[in-house]
Structures are given as C-alpha cells and as structure tokens.
C-alpha cells in the first residue's frame, strides 16, 4: 500500500529526479539561455493573448511549476503585474495509471475561476502528448476556459496524439530512446536542459 516515492515524470518526456546526470549528457540549454528563452516565450504569450487580460498560467508538476513561475515573473516584468498562477496535477488522469505502482499525487491549486479565462498550460517537455491530453481532461473537471494554450520549454517530437504546443522554447530533435532532462534551480542543483543517450546496456564498453 505504499506509493511510489519518486517524483512524477509529468512532462511526458522530461525526466525528473535530481540525481547526477549521466556523464555522457550534453547540455542543450544552459541557465542563461533558458532565461532568454523564457523571456521570449513570455512575450509570445502576451502577443498571442493581446496582453495579459484573463490570462491564467497553470504549471504541470513537477518541472512545469517552476517554469510557470518564471513565465509569470517575465510576464509581470512586462505588464507590471504577474498573471494568476496555479498548478494542475494530472496523476489521477493519466491513462497509464493502472500499469504503474500507485503513484504519489501532486498538488492542484487553481488561482481563481478559470471559466472564460485563457489558460496557458505550462510543461517542461512535450513528448508523446499524453500528459497534455490528461491535463485537458483535468481542466474539463475544473471549469470551462475560453481558450487553452500550451507552452513547453522543449518539444522533443515523437507525438502519439494529435497535440501541438502554441509556445515552444526549443524544438529538439531526439531519438526515442534518448532522455531529455530539464532542471530548475528551484528543484534541482542547476538550471539546464540536457540530453542523454540511451542508458548503457549491461556489458557495453565505455
């Protein structure tokens, strides 16, 4: 009856966990580049929404939450006040819930009513699209936004569902077996995006 203690990989391609990265990992975005990328995404969101009116940012735990906080800060720097910010846990809506040991559940906190708001879902990595599909189901139970947009720091391809992001920090072509990791200083030792080759097979020469 124990739950899986590990943090949930909710960015469906982003890997969580704060363990040291594989020595073969390649840094794709460093802290400064991430900062500039977030600033650009904030401007894109404002441009698409024609301002910050009725905008609500919802981060998908785990790494979507610090990303949403950074985006809200960047939007606040432009507009004077940051938009309402919340988080949306999707664990209970995952379509693979039954295939896993019982998962621990993150927090859902919605800043105010999302009815008729423009909700920007924020996640670290867009991969299969299943997390986003789960998030859309979760939102449906919370209200009826006027529009839902998707902002991701990394789009690594390999979609399994007809889903695309409205605002992408970086398009990153990857092989399916590679691992993309997003780390933020809020939850990890560093702020960076790395890509790691597939895990070494047993007996493989270094």
């Amino acid at each position: 009856m124990t739950t899986d203690p590990a943090p949930q990989p909710t960015g469906d391609g982003g890997d969580t966990g704060t363990e040291a990265s594989d020595s073969r990992a390649r840094v794709v975005l460093d802290s400064e580049e991430i900062g500039r990328t977030v600033t650009r995404m904030a401007h894109e969101i404002l441009e698409a929404n024609r301002g910050a009116e009725n905008l609500v940012l919802l981060g998908i735990p785990t790494r979507g939450v610090p990303l949403a906080e950074r985006l809200a800060g960047a939007i606040g720097a432009v507009e004077g006040t940051p938009p309402p910010l919340g988080q949306l846990d999707i664990t209970m809506y995952r379509d693979d819930l039954r295939r896993q040991p019982t998962r621990s559940v993150g927090r859902t906190s919605i800043p105010n009513s999302i009815d008729d708001a423009t909700v920007v879902l924020v996640d670290d990595v867009l991969f299969s699209g299943r997390s986003v599909a789960a998030a859309l189901d979760a939102l449906k139970d919370l209200g009826r936004p006027r529009a839902i947009r998707l902002a991701v720091l990394v789009d690594r391809g390999h979609r399994q569902l007809p889903i695309r992001a409205d605002h992408v920090g970086k398009n990153l072509p990857t092989a399916a077996e590679e691992r993309v990791r997003v780390r933020f200083a809020e939850t990890d030792p560093a702020t960076e995006v790395t890509i790691e080759p597939e895990p070494r097979k047993e007996g493989e020469r270094l």
């Binding site: 009856m1 124990t2 739950t3 846990d89 209970m92 809506y93 819930l97 039954r98 295939r99 896993q100 040991p101 019982t102 998962r103 621990s104 559940v105 993150g106 927090r107 859902t108 906190s109 189901d137 139970d141 919370l142 209200g143």
Partner: protein, 311 residues
C-alpha cells in the same frame, strides 16, 4: 499492502502517504465537479452487517468521486450471521468480479476472516469492539489540519491526546491509540475503572480516571460515544453520573487549554458525553472529522486500487 484491516498494519510512512493524498482529495471535495477518473472501471462493494450513516455514505461517496462503481449490500434484517453464512456472502460477492470489499460487522475479526477467504482487497469499516482504521485516519487528518492552522509545519508527534469514555467497547479508541502512537502522539486514556479495557496496562499509553486533572494538559480531547445499550450493563450507575464524572460539560470546556481541539467520532449523545456547548464550540472538529472521512477514504481506496492491475 493488500488490505486495510487494522490501524496497526500501517507504518508511519504509509499513514503520511494516506494523509497527504487525503489533503489533495479534500481539494476535490471542494470543487463544483467532484470527480476524478482514477478508479474508473473498478467496482467496490460496501458490505454492511451493522447500521451506519457516516461510514457507509462516506465510503460510497469516496468510491463514486473516484469514478468507481459502488454498490451497497446491507445485511440488516437478513438471516446473515457469523461463520459459514458470512463466508458464503463474501465468496458470492467476490465471485461477481468486484475489485474491493468494504466490510462492517458486529463480530470482531470478521473483515480479517473475509480477507483470508478471498483474494480481493478488504477494508475494515469497523468490526465489533476491535478496530475502525479509517476512523483513526480521519481523526489524525482532522487533528493535523487543526494544528496546522496555527503552524503550517505542525505534526501530531509529541502532541498530547486524551481519549475519554467507554474504552472497553470502543473500536475507535483501539484504532486511534494504535495510529496516533505510530505518529508519535502521547496518549492518555480517561475512563471510569469499569470501562477500562482488560490488559490496558500493556498499551503504550498513560491512564487516568480523573478527567478534570487531564483536561488542562492535552492538545486534543477525543470524546467517545456512550453506547446506550451499555447503560444497563452495570458499567456506571446512571447517565447523569457518567456526565458528572466524564462528560465534556460547559464547565470542563473552560478547563481546556487555549487552542485545544475537541473530537467526537459521532453520533453524539448531546448532554451525555458531550455538552451542546462543547459540540458546537469553535474548537470542535466534529464536522471537520465527517468531511475528512470522505477525503481519507478516497485516499485509502486509491492506495489499494489505484496501482497495477495485476497485483
């Protein structure tokens, strides 16, 4: 862990896991659409061989809010008795292909017996004078919430909790002692000598027969229901006498230390073990306990049924 039969089966880590998830479930309770798809396609049977309002309806709501199909089987008035017939009932329900069974029974140990007969998870919703683990969990949840109103990081460990009343017949007290001890609380049991359970000397608690002496030192006073059917058992002379000695009267309410909470598992005998002033006081958690019951049972059902299919 496949079943929840006794509060003693839970490690501190498991209790925290259940309580923390219950916090998230209580957020769902406050939504306009109280529904999560986590247990879609699962079927839970409430098998109640004893009367219940709170426990049965909260288990039913908990299952339904997690999108499980829930059916209630009430054995009241039927010819169901202990032994063979219970076994047949359990095996019949199990043969229908349900995924979990919630059992309340007047015989201590009935859910554990049922769990031995079937492979599906069994939850004890109160058995005789033995245990009521989900009640202990919801008490802990409500107490922790109360503590966190003044200190967001507060835990139950180190807090002093008095459990007062008919301890001999109380499954709530047995589960409560076990679970609150697991969480590190200090427990004092208060009852007239006639209502102290046999063997209580071996329990990890302190004992008192003087409620007035204890009230000023505790963080929580948990009052137990006096079961009216015990009135004629010679445990105490008259209801009035019980109230004078062990009721949470208006006068005693004033003796509680500031910030101390009052709990009662319900249903309350107002004017007997708890006065209306105490039941309706600002520090009374009675209705919070009821609300916590749904959130905690959602959490327990998820822990038992939310994981791998081929358990």
């Amino acid at each position: 862990m496949r079943n929840l039969l006794s509060a003693a089966d839970l490690s501190a880590e498991e209790v925290f896991s259940i309580l923390d998830l219950a916090e998230e479930m209580s957020e769902v309770q406050a939504r306009p659409i109280k529904k999560l798809p986590a247990l879609r396609g699962r079927t839970v049977v409430n098998l109640f061989f004893e009367d219940s309002t709170r426990t049965r309806s909260s288990f039913e709501l908990a299952g339904k809010w997690l999108s499980a199909d829930v059916i209630n089987v009430s054995a009241k008035g039927s010819s169901v008795s202990k032994g063979e017939s219970l076994r047949d009932t359990v095996l019949t329900i199990a043969a229908m292909g349900v995924d979990a069974m919630v059992i309340r029974h007047s015989a201590s140990g009935a859910p554990a017996q049922a769990a031995a007969w079937t492979q599906i998870p069994v939850l004890n919703a109160g058995d005789g004078t033995h245990e009521h683990p989900t009640q202990a969990l919801l008490d802990a949840f409500a107490i922790r919430r109360h503590l966190r109103r003044s200190d967001p990081e507060a835990e139950i460990a180190g807090k002093k909790i008095a459990i007062v009343g008919d301890l001999t017949h109380s499954r709530v007290a047995r589960s409560g002692v076990s679970l609150l001890r697991t969480l590190g609380a200090e427990i004092v049991l208060v009852a007239p000598p006639t209502l102290m359970p046999s063997g209580v000397g071996t329990w990890p608690v302190s004992l008192s027969t003087d409620l007035d002496e204890v009230l000023g030192e505790v963080d929580v006073a948990m009052m137990l229901r006096v079961q009216r059917e015990r009135m004629s058992g010679g445990y105490f002379p008259t209801p009035r006498e019980y109230t004078v000695g062990y009721g949470l009267t208006r006068d005693r309410l004033a003796k509680l230390k500031p910030g101390a909470a009052i709990c009662h598992p319900g249903p309350m005998n107002r004017g007997l073990e708890i006065s209306a002033d105490a039941a309706d006081a600002a520090s009374s958690l009675v209705l919070e306990q009821v609300a916590a019951g749904v959130a905690v049972r959602m959490s327990v059902l998820y822990h038992l049924l939310g994981g791998e299919e081929d358990q």
